[in-house]
Symmetry: C2
């Protein structure tokens, strides 16, 4: 491996001079600078980031943990985060937790060992608290995305889940629907709770009674069991005329289940949900959705994180909470009754 000492020797200077050339630090004569640079090219020198990090006590490495790499909401978010990181000269390490606390734990461990400068994460759920405490304890700045964790104050970027749920229900009610079901993620996840809350509020606001039988709590992730949804459908008599899905994955799963029962959307049942589907499904977009600004989640979250990193030693400003507005996009998946 080529080191600054190799360069130094061949260029007839000291290692320190080489280091200065690399970092554009201190005053160096133009002559030696060009000479050193030429030797670096000749030898194909690449600075050793580890050695550098070891002495500088910073890695310029950030970590992004998402809960489902196949969900376009999160990949779009990842793009935003990456763009913002790159703009500031940081690199980004991705991790996919699948909403699995053990996997999340592994990644937290990796973060600490790697001495990443900061972490951006969508926590698996409320039970992620010890992981966050771990980060806090080791003074690793982090920003939460999409989900809060009770008991832990921090910077966070959220969507307006409650308002989104209200709007979805309102849209359905506007279409004449009065029997409206909800399929949702686990209540151990703040966004799922908020969505349930918004759903209930909107029902009340429209003089509709909340019926537990019309609510299914399952998983936001791609592993949710189709038979569970089918059984739920079969339990409800009569079938609701409309459904709210807590996210895009659940919307798709529900459509599959409906199809397996010979039911079409929107002819036999109306459906609205949170988040856009994959762009590939958008050849002919027909689901009415609350569209969240996925890219902004990542971009703004990353900016907050970088702010936090750069002011690490200064007195910390208060925790910031960004709530991105919910935008309703009306398409064709709601039938007018």
């Amino acid at each position: 491996m080529v080191t600054i000492y190799d360069i130094a020797e061949k260029a007839g200077v000291s290692a320190m001079t080489v280091s200065r050339v690399i970092n554009n630090a201190g005053r160096i004569s133009e002559k030696t600078r060009t000479k050193v640079k030429r030797v670096m090219d000749e030898l194909g020198y690449v600075p050793n980031q580890m050695a550098r990090s070891l002495v500088l006590q910073e890695t310029r490495l950030l970590f992004l943990m998402i809960t489902d790499i196949t969900n376009p909401f999160y990949t779009t978010l990842a793009r935003g985060a990456e763009d913002a990181a790159k703009k500031h000269g940081y690199r980004l390490l991705f991790g996919n937790t699948d909403e699995d606390l053990e996997k999340e734990n592994d990644y937290i461990d990796a973060v600490l060992k790697t001495r990443a400068d900061g972490v951006l994460l969508a926590p698996a759920g409320d039970a992620s608290l010890p992981h966050l405490e771990m980060l806090r304890r080791h003074r690793v700045p982090f920003v939460l995305l999409d989900r809060e964790v009770p008991g832990m104050d921090s910077d966070v970027v959220l969507g307006d889940s409650k308002e989104g749920a209200r709007q979805l229900v309102k849209q359905l009610v506007g279409g004449g629907h009065r029997r409206i079901a909800l399929i949702n993620g686990s209540r151990t996840i703040s966004s799922a709770r908020e969505r349930l809350e918004g759903y209930r509020e909107a029902l009340k606001l429209n003089d509709l009674t909340y019926d537990e039988a019309l609510v299914l709590e399952t998983s936001f992730g791609p592993r949710s069991d189709l038979t569970v949804i089918e059984a739920w459908l079969d339990r409800m008599r009569p079938l609701p005329t409309a459904f709210v899905a807590g996210n895009n994955v659940l919307a798709v799963e529900l459509m599959r289940a409906l199809r397996s029962r010979g039911l079409r959307v929107p002819e036999d049942a109306s459906l609205v949900c949170f988040d856009e589907l994959a762009s590939y499904a958008e050849m002919d977009p027909f689901l009415t959705v609350i569209s969240q600004q996925a890219y902004q989640f990542g971009y703004l979250g990353m900016q907050m994180l970088l702010d936090r990193i750069q002011s690490r030693d200064e007195q910390a400003p208060g925790w910031r909470k960004i709530v991105l507005p919910a935008e309703l996009i009306v398409r064709r998946s709601v039938r007018q009754l």
Copy 2:
């Protein structure tokens, strides 16, 4: 920051003993071992990976570069790679190049600086050659995925693109189609070339003449311009009865363009393509496709890479080339004429 010296002092042993406990190396009395471990817990010690890597000359960090993070083919591939890496105790850094040589170059740079132990990459194109030479020069083992690069021998995992294209054309011909168009990625990408080749061969085999006007060369990426496709459609008179798309993104773009012209699939035009669409589009899968084993691309590629890393100093075995078979899945997007 807590170091092994802090542990050592508090536990009344030497730093070396602490190191041994951490790595389960050498013989240590059970008494000191438990004592050291307790102190480590108390102080919340986490090993410094950088210091470790610096002396061990290995990072146990691998890098995966893909060309489109929003393409489910690549995210599925990424899952496979991640699973295989994790199984062997390696961590994986993702990079998204968008088929952009500059971005690819930045990532190559990052790989070298970080001293990643190895790289798995879908190259942006033939022009990625200098990047690969860079890796080779610095003895960073790498495995190519999905695409070869002329002039560079290496391990590689490919799909059988030529055979896939043949099968798609054959399927169309079997449906009575004789005027078959191809929309494809850039010819600077090996898989695009292979697909074009297979398309031409299949035409010849069926006594159909190759017509340049029926072939559009654009980009596999998400940035391809819709107007280019629309112009192409408008140029072709009469319109082909069937289309082959070089990948899933192009299939979607083409469908959009067809729709903008009031044309439906398969009623007005048949369409087949490489790669499945996003799972979310698969609620009602209707495209006839060559389904590639995306997960296997990543998993097998990673295994080859790890093999290569582990035998780095031994005499290198010859380069290995895995060609994954093309599987035709017939659905409803081809109309029988």
